[in-house]
């Protein structure tokens, strides 16, 4: 089943095109990472998906039109935004009461169970909690909602490394199953690499890469090449070359693994390295690296 389908999705702020007619599809049960530099249109895309902003083109989220059916859609969609958006005056107990009051799929006991494992007390106000605890609270609330789609916009921004790791661990262990779909944007790419099933790079309102992680791993390979084999390796047109400790790391796009094995140790590159390579090769070509 399709969770999100966009055709010709377009959004302009004045003369700036935040989304330049993008097409994409996210199937149910996938964890999609939306990666891109600042101003690439990631947040605009998420806002369109969440019904927070009007757009041109066609967009269906869980079969609904998000702009016109936001409140119904939100029964099945959860959202954690880039900064803590829980109001500072809210008490934890009030948050539980309110969600139980308005959300048909909220399971209060589940949320209380999650909160019991943290230092958050029911009498706490949001303003009394540290940034990491606010995120824990928001995550506990969201994970207690039996939603079909979870949208995370830089959920771990500004958190220390412990909280960041716990965030994705609990999301995977306690929340994710094959019936749910997660869309996440983040700059901390290395943290989500092992989490994602799908990957999408965006730049200047366009999608420059859209593939599953299996495709990513078979398509992009990086090789540690000793100096004497460098010339031969370069002839295969690596898309990026890095120097570290006297050895060169060459990144290849769609080059046969057997062929590369002759130059040195072949491994899967990090999303971050591929991202940098794709973005810099973008400079010349318009939609170059797209499939």
């Amino acid at each position: 089943m399709t969770a999100i389908e966009a055709r010709g999705l377009r959004k302009a702020y004045g003369a700036t095109l935040a989304l330049d007619g993008v097409n994409f599809r996210v199937d149910e049960g996938r964890i999609l990472g939306l990666i891109g530099p600042n101003g690439a249109g990631k947040t605009t895309a998420l806002n369109a998906i969440l019904g927070l902003t009007p757009y041109q083109g066609e967009l269906k989220v869980l079969g609904r039109d998000p702009w016109n059916e936001r409140d119904q859609l939100m029964r099945d969609v959860c959202f954690i935004a880039d900064v803590a958006v829980l109001p500072r005056w809210l008490r934890v107990s009030q948050a539980l009461d309110y969600l139980a009051g308005v959300h048909p799929r909220f399971d209060r006991e589940k949320a209380q169970g999650f909160l019991a494992k943290t230092n958050i007390r029911h009498s706490n106000r949001v303003r009394e909690l540290s940034k990491g605890m606010v995120t824990q609270l928001h995550l506990a609330l969201v994970m207690a909602i039996d939603a079909k789609l979870l949208v995370l916009d830089e959920p771990t921004l500004g958190l220390d490394i412990l909280y960041r790791k716990q965030f994705y661990d609990s999301l995977l262990n306690d929340y994710f199953d094959r019936n749910r779909t997660i869309v996440v944007t983040t700059h901390q790419v290395e943290e989500v690499q092992h989490v994602l099933t799908d990957l999408m790079f965006m730049n200047r309102g366009r999608i420059v890469l859209d593939c599953s992680m299996e495709e990513f791993e078979s398509r992009y390979l990086e090789v540690l090449v000793p100096p004497e084999k460098l010339a031969a390796a370069r002839s295969l047109k690596p898309i990026q070359e890095r120097q570290a400790l006297g050895r060169s790391t060459l990144l290849f796009d769609r080059v046969d693994r057997q062929q590369l094995a002759g130059f040195g140790e072949v491994r899967t590159p990090s999303i971050a390295d591929v991202f940098v390579a794709v973005m810099s090769s973008q400079a010349g070509q318009a939609q170059g690296a797209a499939r």
Binding site: D71, V102, P104, G113, Q136
Partner: protein
């Protein structure tokens, strides 16, 4: 083990607590509305703190004044019934005005912040991530000045006045003539009915366009909603004066402020009896009420639309 950075005690929720899947309950519009209104009361505690404080203040003043009460009442026995009536009712009316005034001010500031604050602190993103429509949200916010504050004012005023009567009676115990004069002239039942009518009709319905306007501006302005709410009204008045040398807009606002019974006299309209000149029937028949409600509906519809489009500031 209480250090905030401790990985053990601060662990994110780790194992599934409960695997049963509850059947999704159907949540009625009334229930969403109820919780949205409660949410407003949690956020703006001044809604009940201000009138409670005003009531407390009135009681404190009244308590001090009871020291002189037996003497005053004795002197009052010589006055004619009209004067006696005025004298006895005055502190009760004063308490009512104090509480009413405090909630009116609260209503104004509440409305100005209602749709502005949530954009300022970005919490609108949280509220919009829940299955509550913009219409429900705006209506719940409009219900605070139009319904909740008048009812709350009424309840707090009645309780305050009952305590006052109790204090009065206690102070005059054993003083037969004064006590019978007090109970003879003071009809809390009648006063309360008048008050309830006044609050619901004038503070709720008649003033509704003001609240609608304030909510609209609060949803629209990026900064300084108070100025954006006040200046256009002033500007319209000034332009009208310069262009046509008339003051219709100002007179209209004054009439709206003064209540349906007042022709123009603002001073007169501040006393409760003048507001009572209008009967319920007359009030419900007056075109001013319905025009005002239509204008309110238009303002609120615009506020709903704005909330849908507006992003955090």
């Amino acid at each position: 083990m209480n250090t905030p950075m401790n990985p053990q005690s601060n662990a994110m929720p780790e194992s599934p607590v409960n695997t049963q899947v509850p059947a999704p309950t159907v949540i009625s519009a009334t229930r969403r509305m109820y919780w949205s209104v409660r949410r407003e009361l949690w956020e703006s505690r001044s809604i009940y703190i201000a009138p409670l404080a005003a009531g407390g203040l009135a009681l404190a003043g009244f308590l001090i004044s009871t020291i002189h009460l037996p003497g005053k009442m004795h002197a009052a026995l010589a006055l004619n019934p009209m004067q006696q009536h005025d004298l006895i009712e005055r502190p009760y009316n004063f308490a009512a005005f104090l509480i009413m005034g405090s909630t009116f001010i609260v209503a104004i500031f509440y409305c100005l912040d209602a749709l502005h604050g949530e954009r300022r602190d970005r919490s609108i993103l949280f509220w919009k991530s829940l299955p509550v429509s913009d219409l429900t949200t705006v209506l719940s916010k409009a219900s605070i000045p139009i319904v909740i504050l008048p009812l709350l004012t009424f309840a707090i005023t009645v309780v305050t006045q009952c305590i006052m009567l109790l204090l009065n009676t206690t102070a005059l115990l054993g003083n037969g003539p004064s006590l019978s004069m007090l109970w003879g002239h003071l009809s809390l039942w009648h006063m309360s009915l008048m008050l309830l009518f006044h609050l619901l009709a004038i503070h709720g319905l008649w003033y509704a366009p003001f609240y609608g306007w304030l909510l609209l501006v609060s949803g629209w302005a990026r900064r300084l909603p108070f100025l954006w709410a006040a200046l256009p009204l002033l500007a319209i008045g000034v332009v009208e004066k310069i262009a046509f040398n008339t003051l219709h807009f100002g007179a209209m606002l004054e009439h709206r402020m003064g209540g349906p019974g007042s022709a123009a006299s603002a001073a007169n309209s501040m006393s409760m009896d003048s507001l009572m000149q209008v009967s319920l029937g007359q009030f419900l028949m007056s075109p001013g009420l319905w025009i005002g409600l239509a204008v309110t509906a238009a303002f609120l519809a615009a506020a709903v639309r704005l909330r849908r489009y507006r992003e955090p500031i």
